[in-house]
């Protein structure tokens, strides 16, 4: 296992994480990806770039984000101690700003004029629109019509920030279709545009680059947790859609064999086809959107319809490094459904005064279950990847009656 753990220095130079990842794209796109890879490799360890980025992390994002011991919730479960890495307190309300600033600075250095991206819940879109405004680039965000209706506050935020929000009406009108349309727009003009992918997905170098920018989360957490408790957390928990917040937290701990790591996928309404987005749990290796990874697909090789109450988890693929971590059994991938996530959404709100994003509520839901099974001296660190302001209208409308909100 130890030698395999060293392989977390991945990907290789062609972008593979073991058998996953790579760059499965038409040649007209490969040219620009090569350019991005080269530009990224040049700045990745460049002192000036890192100084600029870390100054923004500190003075603009508000990093380091704190770790909070959720005592009431831990007490309620009667087991392990639950800690929250408060990425929800970042400027723009989620972890996404970490990789958006990195990509925006890179795009600016490469002389690009427009940042484009897909977004599911709108968190990535808002973060990118913010970064674009900050560094002085134009911004086009592709978003499914269904998600636009569900995530209205984020749509308005993006527009206030000066971004164009392009409504995607093809297919299921959700995240996968937004990715398709954003890719198409990118291929239409890869010279002046920079596709700032919203997660650790897509062709090389995106899974590596987004992970690198997000890994600040785990590096901070590792040090903070030690300072707080004198040791490393026994368990890490993060939700996994594409998997950017999870890779952000996990990366710094991958070599710590004593730390158990859990990725939580959305089981939606059920694990029946079309009612979930539990890619690692039920998918099979395949290629979509330019990379090889586990994929929810039908027998013909077309991606399946996916569903989750959390738009940001609603994706039939998953980051390639997660696929490798699953195969290596370094990370255990589990599921939480809509109703568990909604319960956790209200539990965290009412026991700790923190309203989580529906995506992050999946991680909280699993952490609550896990805590109940563990001794009181065990610890669980949850990546609270986003805040729930964007979800309150939807939750009130759909579940408000059951929880005494309306």
């Amino acid at each position: 296992m130890k030698t395999e753990l060293k392989s977390f220095q991945l990907p290789d130079e062609k972008g593979y994480f073991g058998p996953y990842g790579g760059s499965f794209v038409p040649p007209q796109l490969q040219g620009v990806l090569d350019e991005i890879t080269q530009a990224y490799m040049e700045i990745k360890d460049d002192e000036q770039f890192l100084t600029e980025l870390h100054a923004l992390y500190k003075h603009y994002v508000g990093r380091p984000s704190p770790i909070f011991h959720a005592r009431s919730l831990s007490e309620k479960m009667g087991g392990a101690q639950i800690y929250l890495k408060r990425e929800d307190l970042n400027h723009t309300g989620a972890h996404k700003i970490n990789h958006c600033l990195g990509q925006a600075l890179l795009a600016k250095k490469m002389g690009k004029q427009t940042l484009i991206a897909e977004t599911g819940a709108g968190q990535h879109g808002v973060a990118l629109a913010t970064a674009a405004a900050l560094v002085g680039l134009k911004c086009d965000i592709y978003m499914g019509e269904v998600d636009i209706a569900k995530e209205k506050p984020n749509v308005i935020r993006m527009k206030i920030l000066g971004a164009r929000v392009i409504s995607v009406t093809r297919g299921t009108k959700t995240l996968k279709d937004a990715v398709d349309e954003a890719f198409e727009a990118y291929l239409g003009d890869p010279i002046t545009q920079f596709y700032a992918i919203g997660s650790v997905v897509g062709p090389h170098p995106f899974p590596m680059m987004v992970r690198d920018f997000q890994s600040i989360v785990g590096r901070e957490a590792r040090q903070q947790f030690r300072e707080m408790t004198g040791s490393l957390p026994d368990n890490l928990v993060a939700c996994v859609g594409g998997g950017s917040n999870a890779m952000g937290l996990f990366t710094a701990f991958l070599d710590d064999e004593e730390v158990l790591i859990y990725g939580v996928e959305p089981s939606g309404l059920s694990l029946r086809e079309g009612e979930h987005a539990a890619t690692l749990t039920l998918g099979k290796p395949g290629v979509l959107h330019g990379f090889k990874s586990y994929l929810l697909q039908d027998e013909k090789g077309n991606p399946l319809k996916v569903y989750s109450v959390a738009s940001g988890l609603d994706y039939p693929g998953v980051g390639p490094q997660h696929s490798l971590l699953k195969d290596l059994e370094r990370v255990t991938y589990v599921t939480a459904g809509d109703s568990e996530a909604i319960d956790a959404f209200f539990d965290l709100s009412r026991f700790e005064g923190i309203i989580p994003a529906l995506e992050s509520a999946h991680a909280v839901a699993f952490a609550l279950k896990l805590a109940g099974k563990l001794e009181k001296d065990k610890t669980i660190l949850v990546n609270l990847s986003g805040r729930g302001d964007k979800d309150i209208d939807y939750v009130a409308e759909t579940y408000g009656k059951d929880y005494g909100v309306v």
Binding site: K14, G22, S23, F24, V25, P26, P27, Q28, L29, Q30, G31, V32, D34, G171, K176, D180, F183, E184, L187, G188, D189, P190, I191, P285, G286, V287, L288, H289, G290, L295, Q297, E299, K300, G301, N302, P303
Partner: protein, 258 residues
């Protein structure tokens, strides 16, 4: 032999059609009508839900064909009839994921057994030596794509893992009808020809007989997709539309049947 079929033709035009549109039987008839109109070879595209290299027309075609119930297994039932009904090569274009479901080797062998001579996989990584070796062993040409933005190093890699012909993408974006700049394309084709004896065919963005003539001044063949599919989809008689469109593109003075 795909390479010979292209080289032996004075005006090698390779029409692209989406399989299963408007139906499987119609696809068979369209294939025969394209042969009669003078095609050098025929490329049939397998519909896929997320066709990242295709523009709006071929995307629409893909989605319509899937909606019509296209399946790979259904295609397998027809392929043999189609290849025996024509005396020119049939080439299959497919994104990689549908080919992987039963294993790429098995799927490509089944194509070969049904008389398919070549395969184009637009989202193949530039280093695809394993699939290239597989195709060589199976006996099916692996036609590779090269774009204007492809670096020299990648071009060499791709061309060394290519057979049948080199597919030169003439624009920087997705497929679709648009203006090409013959000067740039000519330089691109010359660059490729300096590296290989394989024929070089140009695709993406060709929609007029004039463009076909321009391109054939320096390329061995041209591929016509979006323009043809637009006509096929917009006509109550797709078989005749396919024939007439190809005739118009090839232009006068060329034999239509050998």
């Amino acid at each position: 032999m795909i390479a010979d079929a292209i080289k032996n033709k004075t005006k090698a035009v390779i029409p692209y059609i989406t399989a299963g549109l408007p139906g499987m039987d119609a696809t068979g008839e369209i294939i025969r009508s394209l042969r009669a109109a003078g095609a050098a070879a025929i490329e049939i595209g397998l519909p896929f839900s997320d066709p990242m290299a295709d523009g709006p027309v071929l995307q629409k075609a893909s989605h319509l064909a899937l909606k019509n119930g296209f399946t790979l297994e259904g295609l397998m039932e027809h392929l043999g009839d189609w290849t025996t009904s024509i005396d020119i090569p049939l080439i299959v274009m497919s994104y990689i994921n549908p080919l992987m479901r039963r294993g790429i080797g098995e799927t490509l062998s089944r194509f070969r057994d049904r008389g398919v001579q070549g395969v184009i996989i637009p989202d193949l990584p530039s280093d695809a030596r394993e699939i290239h070796a597989l195709c060589r062993d199976i006996g099916i040409d692996l036609i590779r794509l090269v774009a204007p933005t492809t670096t020299l190093q990648r071009q060499e890699e791709v061309i060394s893992q290519c057979s049948g012909f080199v597919y030169a993408v003439s624009v920087k974006g997705v497929t679709g009808v648009r203006q090409c700049l013959p000067g740039e394309v000519a330089r691109q084709v010359q660059g490729i020809k300096a590296m290989t004896d394989l024929p070089v065919c140009i695709g993406f963005g060709i929609s007029t007989a004039e463009q076909v003539n321009d391109m054939l001044a320096f390329a061995d063949g041209v591929i016509v997709g979006s323009h043809l599919m637009e006509r096929i989809m917009g006509d109550p008689n797709p078989v005749i539309a396919a024939h007439d469109t190809l005739r118009e593109l090839i232009g006068p003075g060329i034999e239509s049947i050998r």
